[in-house]
Structures are given as structure tokens and as C-alpha cells.
């Protein structure tokens, strides 16, 4: 059997004795590289390792016991450093990616707008915009190049747009294809964020989803800052525009920041949203702290969040009855799927104080 130790390859016979040792070069940096690759490729099968220290002494890799420790420690520290720099838990690249995505969005919107206005002179009837318009123009250019079986062929044939010159057509196609590649880059960045959030902030991704998690990190300035925020702050991150509006126009004060975009909250009936958002923010804060200080995924945070959300839903099945109808109820339009009707309406009166106890039993 062959066994690779950190200092060399060993040949082990049936009796478990080491017959031969091909030592590696005694260069700590090289040994550390070997060690890292050994760790990465180690398989699941059980190994019966010999007494490594003794082998190293027997085969003269080191002369003294003490040397073995010194060398091993040196190599392991180097290896761990290599692994750390490889693992790259750096959150700045996530922030860069989120900001690059925003830059692209801004630019692509402007350019798409330009394309629509400009190309609209030649084909005003075309009901496309954004990415699909860019794709269309990049592919066909002039409306006259549409094949007969194209779904907009009729529209093109009867268009009242002006005729396009060759130079304009070339230019617009060029512009359009650049817009397409920006959209393409954007989706690359999105995928990048999802993959990399897995190592930078596994818990946050698990709770909030990678895109929202990344945005929270970016708005907070760093994972560390996000982890330091109390959950009440996390709840309103990204609400600054609403906050200004509130100050300026006396609009209702913002209750939710970008975490409100989360599908769980967005799709909930209005009277549950505040409670859900609060629970959600609390777990996001916990997840960010976990990511910042341990970096290890703890599935129980998500499980607890799910339990908590379920409790809130069950404890608040229908809209609270209010004395006077506030402006809020208008927003309730989207809340089609409120809890089961006739659930526990009679308990409405003291529902608040009972929330906690009840949730557990239901």
C-alpha cells in the first residue's frame, strides 16, 4: 500500500511496516504546497497511517524529534496561510460586483432608452424595449430585413416609420449589440454573486438569498458593519429614499428597507408584513454575525426563521379590525391569500399578547 505523508511517499507492506520512504524536497514552501493538495484530494476511505514521526526519523528526513515538530509546524502554518488566501472570504469583491451591477443597470437603461427613441423613428410600431429590443435590432437592423415568418413582419411591412440609411442601420446595430453584451455581463455578475456569496456569507445567503444578501453587505459597507448593525437598522437599510420622502412630503415613515423586497414579505398580507420583516431582520442580523465571526453555515438559523414565520402567519390569519379605517387598508388589495377565513377571529381581541404562547401550540 502506498501512503503519502506530509514529508514523503511511504510504501507499506502487508504487516503495516514501512518498507520505503521517498522523501520530498526539504523546502517548507514546497512541502506546504504538497500538503494543501494532499488535503484537497484526500478521499473518504479509511487509512491506517503508520507512526509518521518515527518514520521520518528512521528514514532520516529529520534527525531529532524536535526538528520534526519545528518543520511540521512551519509547513502547516504556511499551508494554512495558502488555504486562507485561496478561500478568499473577502467581502469587498461582493461589494464591487453589486456596484458594477448597478453601474450596468444605469448605463443599460440610458442606452436602451436612447436606442428606443432612435430606432423608433424607423419602426415606431415595434412593441419591444430593453433587452428584447436590443436583441431585435442587433439581429435584423432595418425593418426591411425581417423574414416573412417573423411575427412582426406585418407590422414592419405596414410601418409608417421613415427609411433607414445604411450608415444609421450599421450604427444602431452596433449600439444594440453593445447593449446586449452589457445585459450578458450583468447576468454573469449575478451568477458570480450567487456563487461567491456561498463562501463569503453562507448564512446570510441561506436566510436572505444571495442577491439580497449581497445588496445588504454593499449598502452596509462591509459584512463586518452589517454584522454590527442592530436588527432594527437592518430592517430599514435602503429605505433612505422613503425616509427623505417621509421628511419632505410627510409620507408615512418607512417601515421597511430593501429586505421588504424579499418574496416572503412582499407576498404576505399587509398586516403580517411588519412582523415578518422584524423576524426576518433579526435572523439576517444573526446570520451576518455568524458569517463574520465563524464563517460556517448553521442551518438551524434558517429552520428557526421558518418556524418563526409560520408562527406569525398562524397567529395573524386575518386583518386586525381597526376602529377607524386608516389609509393603510388600501394597500391590502394584493393580499388575496390571507390565512384561512374564519380561523381564529374570535381571539382577535387579545391576540397580541398571546402571540408567542399560541404559536407554539398551534
Amino acid at each position: 500500500m502506498e501512503f503519502t505523508a506530509w514529508f514523503g511517499k511511504l510504501n507499506i507492506n502487508e504487516e503495516g511496516e514501512v518498507e520505503d520512504c521517498q522523501a520530498f524536497e526539504k523546502d517548507p514552501e514546497k512541502l506546504a504546497e504538497v500538503l494543501v493538495s494532499l488535503q484537497e484530494t484526500s478521499r473518504d476511505e479509511a487509512v491506517n497511517a503508520p507512526d509518521l514521526r518515527q518514520v521520518a526519523l528512521d528514514f532520516g528526513f529529520v534527525e531529532l524529534d524536535k526538528d520534526y515538530d519545528i518543520m511540521l509546524r512551519d509547513v502547516c502554518i504556511r499551508a494554512a496561510k495558502m488555504q486562507i488566501s485561496k478561500s478568499d472570504t473577502d467581502d469587498t469583491r461582493i461589494i464591487q460586483a453589486v456596484e458594477a451591477m448597478d453601474d450596468i443597470d444605469r448605463n443599460v437603461n440610458e442606452l436602451s432608452e436612447r436606442l428606443m427613441v432612435w430606432y423608433g423613428r424607423y419602426f415606431p410600431e415595434l412593441p419591444l424595449k430593453g433587452e428584447s429590443l436590443a436583441n431585435f435590432v442587433a439581429q435584423y437592423g432595418s425593418r426591411e430585413s425581417l423574414p416573412e415568418d417573423h411575427k412582426f413582419f406585418e407590422k414592419a411591412a405596414n410601418s409608417m416609420g421613415s427609411d433607414i440609411s445604411f450608415a444609421d442601420e450599421e450604427l444602431l446595430r452596433h449600439l444594440a449589440s453593445n447593449i446586449c453584451s452589457l445585459y450578458d455581463t450583468r447576468s454573469h455578475i449575478e451568477a458570480y454573486i450567487v456563487t461567491n456569496m456561498g463562501s463569503v456569507a453562507p448564512n446570510l445567503s441561506n436566510i436572505a438569498g444571495a442577491p439580497l444578501g449581497a445588496r445588504l453587505i454593499s449598502m452596509a459597507g462591509s459584512l463586518e458593519k452589517l454584522a454590527a448593525f442592530p436588527s432594527s437598522t437592518i430592517q430599514v437599510i435602503g429605505a433612505s429614499r422613503a425616509l427623505f420622502k417621509h421628511l419632505r412630503d410627510r409620507a408615512p415613515s418607512p417601515k421597511h428597507g430593501i429586505i421588504f423586497n424579499n418574496i416572503i414579505i412582499k407576498n404576505a398580507p399587509w398586516w403580517q408584513r411588519g412582523k415578518l420583516a422584524r423576524a426576518f431582520a433579526a435572523k439576517i442580523s444573526l446570520a451576518a454575525r455568524m458569517d463574520c465571526y465563524s464563517g460556517e453555515l448553521d442551518p438551524s438559523i434558517k429552520e428557526n426563521l421558518d418556524k418563526k414565520l409560520e408562527m406569525i402567519r398562524k397567529a395573524n390569519p386575518s386583518a386586525p379590525k381597526k376602529e377607524k379605517k386608516g389609509g393603510k387598508s388600501g394597500k391590502g388589495g394584493r393580499s388575496g391569500r390571507s390565512g384561512k377565513p374564519g380561523g381564529s377571529n374570535k381571539k382577535d381581541g387579545n391576540r397580541r399578547s398571546n402571540n408567542k404562547k399560541k404559536g407554539g401550540k398551534q
Binding site: 501512503f3 503519502t4 505523508a5 506530509w6 500538503l35 494532499l38 488535503q39 484526500s42 478521499r43 473518504d44 476511505e45 479509511a46 487509512v47 497511517a49 507512526d51 509518521l52 514521526r53 515538530d69 519545528i70 511540521l72 509546524r73 502547516c76 502554518i77 499551508a79 494554512a80 496561510k81 488555504q83 486562507i84 478561500s87 472570504t89 463574520c292 465571526y293 465563524s294 464563517g295 460556517e296 438551524s300 428557526n304
Partner: protein, 231 residues
């Protein structure tokens, strides 16, 4: 002031009727995490806060800590090295292999390793002892504090690989990592049962005690492997 060595390398220092746990500072002058340094008879000690260390709590709760100055120890769940630093003090002629799988935490641990000659850092998952079997030899003791649902299994697998026949396992079990609602007592009973007969190595539990008031819902235990001598 009086200094009493209660276990190898572990001291009880009494100053003005107040006693505290301490280890003898391997690197005099350096405090690792802000702990107090105390000098008596030209020897410097580092205060060891049992609230920040399961092993420290075990020492205070009269566990027979099976360490000697020249022991080799496999430490699973080293984190940034609060407790590892004290183990490093205790093993003044020994060595501690410190396994931690979070790269972020490992960064801090490495700084500690740079200062102390007897800590070997290993960035690896303790669920995969194969991934450090080409580094770690048989050890005299294993200490594990990982706060994971499969704590008992992890301890068993590592003991099988690395624990010397006569060696001992020191384990901290956190009930809340296993189940947040079930009663800790029940969980501890089940974990002990698993260690005694649930895996392909079996243990004899020598001592077990909850670690309160230092750590709520934690059980400390010391066990040794049953050696199969019926050949």
C-alpha cells in the same frame, strides 16, 4: 498570594481570598485575548476565564484533566485559539494540533501560532480525519469543542484514527446544537449512550458533568476508548 498547581500546568492562584484559574505563560509578557497576567516568584501566569473556555470550566469542576507537560493533543474546533493558548501553556514540552475549518477564524488562530512554537494549525473539517491523517500522529488526548449536531460521531471518528490506546477524550457537548427545544438532560443521555455503544469505537465514560454556571446547556465529559483485546 498563593499558587497551587491543581493539575499538570493548571494553577489555582489566590489573591486576597479570591481564587482564579491560570496557566503558566509560555511566552512571558504576551497576553493573548486581554487576560490578566500575574507574576509570582519570577513566573508569569495567565488568568484563564472558565466562562470563555469549556476546558477551563472542566478544570474548575474537578474533572481529572489528563494532560502532561509533554503530551500531544488533537484539538478539534480551535476557533481563534482562546482555549488553545492555555493548552499550549500546559504542554510546555508537547504539541497541540489545532483543527479549525472556518478560514476566517483560522486567520486569527495563525497569528497565535506565529507566537507559539507548540501549536500546529490545521485548516480542515473535523468530519474528515482523512484530510489530516498525513499530518497528525497518534495523540495522548483529544479535546473537542465544535458545537455541531454530530459532535459525538465526530469525536468517535477522530478517536478511532488518532487516539492512543491509553489516551483520553475530553468532550464538550452543546445540547442546543443538537436540538433547540428538547431537554438538555435527555440530549446528553442520548449522546453518552451513542459514545458508549453507537459507533464502531466504544467509550467508557470516566467523568461527566454539566458545565454550568460557566456554560449553560453544555455537558463536559472525559472518556477513554475500550480497547478490543479479545484476539
Amino acid at each position: 498570594m498563593s499558587v497551587e498547581e491543581i493539575y499538570n500546568g493548571i494553577y489555582n492562584i489566590t489573591i486576597d481570598d479570591r481564587s482564579m484559574l491560570a496557566t503558566r505563560n509560555l511566552i512571558p509578557g504576551l497576553s493573548v485575548y486581554g487576560e490578566r497576567l500575574i507574576t509570582e516568584d519570577d513566573v508569569e501566569y495567565r488568568q484563564w476565564d472558565p466562562n470563555r473556555s469549556k476546558l477551563g470550566a472542566m478544570a474548575l469542576k474537578n474533572f481529572e484533566i489528563p494532560l502532561e507537560y509533554d503530551s500531544t493533543v488533537l484539538y478539534l474546533g480551535a476557533a481563534s485559539g482562546t482555549t488553545v493558548s492555555h493548552v499550549s501553556d500546559i504542554l510546555r514540552d508537547g504539541i497541540v494540533y489545532a483543527v479549525e475549518f472556518s478560514p476566517r477564524t483560522m486567520r486569527d488562530l495563525i497569528q497565535l501560532c506565529d507566537q507559539r512554537p507548540n501549536i500546529v494549525p490545521i485548516l480542515a473539517d473535523a468530519n474528515k480525519p482523512q484530510s489530516y491523517a498525513h499530518i497528525v500522529d497518534k495523540v495522548d488526548a483529544i479535546f473537542q469543542d465544535v458545537a455541531q449536531p454530530n459532535q459525538a460521531e465526530m469525536a468517535a471518528v477522530n478517536s478511532k484514527y488518532f487516539l492512543e490506546e491509553a489516551g483520553q477524550l475530553m468532550l464538550s457537548i452543546k445540547s442546543r446544537s443538537i436540538d433547540t427545544v428538547a431537554s438538555p438532560k435527555k440530549i446528553f443521555k442520548e449522546e453518552v449512550r451513542k459514545l458508549e455503544s453507537g459507533f464502531d469505537v466504544e467509550f467508557e465514560v470516566l467523568q461527566r458533568k454539566e458545565l454550568d454556571p460557566f456554560h449553560e446547556d453544555h455537558l463536559g465529559l472525559i472518556a477513554k476508548m475500550f480497547v478490543d483485546d479479545g484476539e
